[in-house]
């Protein structure tokens, strides 16, 4: 059992964190296209053939003469845009990239529960406690908080404490990591025929 624990931890880590593969593939494709174009232009320049778009020498010359040909404000804006894009990529690379899910406590396997499944279970339990149609309960689950919004039927008061207890009991029964904190909101406006 202990031997599998590291494996389970690794699986849980994979299932709860984004691999950033879509971004990496997109950047790799862009990089490959740019480098392929540059290689074609360089080969054409070496062979003395006319360039497809711009000869490498003209590109270098244009880069060196950029301040003379482009307004300083435009150059500054483009540079800040480039630096901002770089900052976004650095943040994307270093941030954990958590996926919407919680880890269930079990020793027999690795259990990752999607937030939608947790929300569905909480909504069913809250609707049962409030004696309402399940459609009248809306649950959204984030990393730390489970928001339970209840819209009562007109003329049927709901017991907020009972709903809170039921939701808290369901959360404790699921025993999730990281732990969820329930937050029950009962709407002041009731609906007819719910």
């Amino acid at each position: 059992m202990t031997g599998h624990r590291a494996t389970y931890q690794r699986i849980i880590r994979r299932e709860t964190h984004s691999p950033r593969s879509a971004l990496a593939i997109a950047l790799a494709v862009i990089l490959i296209l740019v480098l392929a174009y540059l290689a074609v232009e360089c080969v054409l320049a070496f062979l003395g053939q006319p360039a497809l778009l711009l000869a490498p020498r003209d590109v270098l010359g244009a880069v060196v003469d950029l301040p003379a040909n482009v307004a300083a404000s435009v150059l500054l804006a483009a540079a800040l845009l480039t630096a901002g894009l770089g900052l976004v990529l650095v943040v994307a690379a270093l941030s954990p990239g958590r996926l919407p899910g919680h880890v269930g406590r079990t020793d027999r396997t690795a259990a990752v529960i999607d937030n939608r499944a947790i929300a569905s279970a909480l909504a069913r339990r809250a609707a049962y406690a409030a004696n309402l149609d399940p459609d009248r309960v809306l649950v959204s689950v984030s990393r730390r908080v489970a928001d339970v919004r209840v819209q009562p039927a007109s003329g049927w008061p709901v017991n907020t404490a009972a709903i809170s207890d039921a939701v808290a009991d369901e959360i404790s029964r699921l025993d999730l990591t990281p732990a969820l904190r329930p937050r029950v909101l009962v709407s002041r406006q009731a609906v007819v025929g719910a």
Binding site: R20, A72, A83, G84, G86
Partner: protein, 79 residues
């Protein structure tokens, strides 16, 4: 997707991000403070002219490199 691929994904994104950040920051600094950067380049090398801007800075840096190489060559040959 194994852990090596995950690390490589993030490493590639990080390197490209750092490259864009450094290039964008350098160009922004050079275009925001052209006189300061040109003066610094003039002091650091012998090639750049004051007020020459980004192009002068690049050209000056290249000329400065060749000046250093020439001085090294002279020193090594005993001249």
């Amino acid at each position: 997707m194994n852990n090596t691929n995950r690390v490589l994904n993030r490493l590639g994104i990080l390197l490209l991000g750092l490259l864009l950040l450094v290039v964008g920051g350098a160009v922004a600094a050079a275009s925001a403070f052209p006189d300061t950067v040109a003066a610094w380049a003039t002091g650091a090398t012998t090639g750049a002219k004051p007020g020459a801007g980004f192009g002068g800075l690049v050209g000056g840096a290249l000329r400065g490199t060749s000046d250093v190489a020439r001085q090294l060559d002279t020193a090594l040959s005993g001249g």
